[in-house]
Amino acid sequence: MENIGSFIDMIFVTAKAWILALLGQFLPVWIVVLASIVISGVAILCLGPVIMMYLTLLERKVIGRIQNRYGPNRVGIWGLLQPIADGIKMFTKEDIVPANADKLIHLLAPIMTVVPALMIFVVVPFGRQMTAADLNIGFLYFIAVSSITILPIFMASWSSRNKYSLLGGMRTAAQLISYEVPMTLAAVPAIMMSQSLSTNTIVLTQAGSFGLNWFIFTPWGIVGFIVFFLCATAECNRPPFDLPEAESELVAGFHTEYSGMKFALFYMAEYMNAFTLCGIAATLFLGGWQGPFLPSWVWFFGKTLALICIMIWFRGTFPRFRVDHLMAFAWKFLLPLTLVNILLTALWQFTSASAAWLFSIMILAAMLYMLVKLNRVFVPEKRNYVLAD
Amino acid sequence: MIAIPLQHILIFSLLLFAIGLYGALVRRNIIGILISIELMVNASNINLIAFSKYTSLSPETGQIFALFVIALAATAAAVGLAIVLALYRIRKTVQADEVHLLKW
């Protein structure tokens, strides 16, 4: 029983080691090194698009259920072939490039969006020993690569030569930069406690008995997780933070002028980002692949998919933010909260458990009360619009 | 450790610095000048890290100086661009040679 469990747990790792051993018998060492990289790379390159395809299906199904309808169910059983049908539709659509567009950049932007989204997969720990590259700066790598995402959105919005695209691009930049700050600071407590930036080590420190010593079971962990998750939702432009591509205000923002496969690439990057951000959130606070009884990768995918379902639930439930509310929420609410949270984590380290619980809950309650009091709802004064003078 | 000679890195960063300096000298647009200066700062950073890697027993020193330089470059860019925006709002231009109120 024990053996079968560990075999299923390590099945992918064993398969890769077996292939490498096979190659090593009649090929020089350097080819084996290359082959190791290629296998991990190919696995990620296949995983990304497949995840994206089935996330779209999941989203349509869940949203359908929330709105009391079925969602796609005609293509294949339970609509399982729907993503493939969508893919064929996207491929055969006409590719329209606006006459005044900056052609080269217009082409490069969708390609550039997908690259960082795929690159982040490298540091996501999918299971025991299943991190493609266990970098010792793993989390910093994640933050750095996801900050590149702003660039292609700028490229798309600028090269389209369209005022709605440009407005969408500006909003995106403002939003992504603002939410990156609390997101990084919210993750700092987890890094402080595990004393490492490596995603793998962060997961390993949450082992405990039964693999249940997750960071979310502490006061700073709960606050950090909630803030991180909200910021992650904002970072991948999902509702209720989808101002950059608000259909009703901006005609879809930065990808107004994109069609066919290029549009599909933006879509793909968005879903892959949603997956990796949820995966990193699970890694930092929900113990990654740690958990009792089930194989490690089942735990990881289970936690990540649960987080994605929460994101979809957000989409079905909340109305969109207003721009000034969005900014105020990041800078006036989340940022101070994360700073206090870092302080709490330091206190947690140096006080005994029960006293620490008491202290943290008191400080957090006081802080929340203060922030809510300080962030009074802003009612704009009545303005009279005068026609052009 | 991949051994490429220190001299090659130094020549490379020198060329990068020279290109940045050229941009800072000939650009008319203030934003163009600012981004050329970023190139120069970047070249000097490469030097700091190369020296700390090749000649120092504790490479932290060079890296920390590079960290400070990056932070200061970001500050310079932020303040500089704020000044450019204020200038644009008042004088409707971002060309350095059109801002000559104090010149005679």
Binding site: V29, W30, N136, I137, L140, A144, S147, F154, R161, M170, A173, V386 | M1, I2, I4, H8, I11, L14, L16, I19, G20, L21, Y22, L25, V26, R27, R28, N29, L34, I35, S36, E38, L39, N42, I46, I49, K53, Y54, T55, S56, L57, S58, P59, E60, Q63, I64, A66, L67, I70, A71, L72, A73, T75, A77, A78, V79, A82, V84, L85, Q95
Partner: protein, 174 residues
Amino acid sequence: MELLQLGAKFGIYAVMAAILVFALGVVTFRNLFHCALCLAAALIGTAGIYIALQAEFLAGVQILLYVGGVITLVVFAIMLTEHLAGKTVRQNNAQSLPAIVGLAGFVTALIALILKTPWPVTEAALKAKTSAMGLGEALMGTYVFPFEVISIVLLAALIGTVVIAKKDAPEERP
């Protein structure tokens, strides 16, 4: 294994060449937005050089701060000051030729200097390693004073930027 080493070496030279090409793009393109994109590419390439020099932490910080921060600021400024239609304005002043001549002299002199100087490259230094933890300990130990000074500078710059870029209070319309 030697083959991989050789490949890595060529890779570094290729990255260096690419950075120089992009840097030339930064100073020659007429469209400022293209310049900013070239700058981003050059900065990402520099992060690659840092990784080759085993400064991974710096590479991460470089991409995070430069590409995520500075480039975004620059593009913002370009979007706010340039016109979307982009009428072509002369971007360079008349000092192109003297600048090139002067810089050529400067570069040749310095290259001669670089090649003549006996750099104290030691085997022990090449083997020395850093980690993010070592950097953190140095920042909190030896360099704690500059670290604090930098934080004050950043705070001052933050406030200064807001004050400079802020719009004045709108005047009352008659």
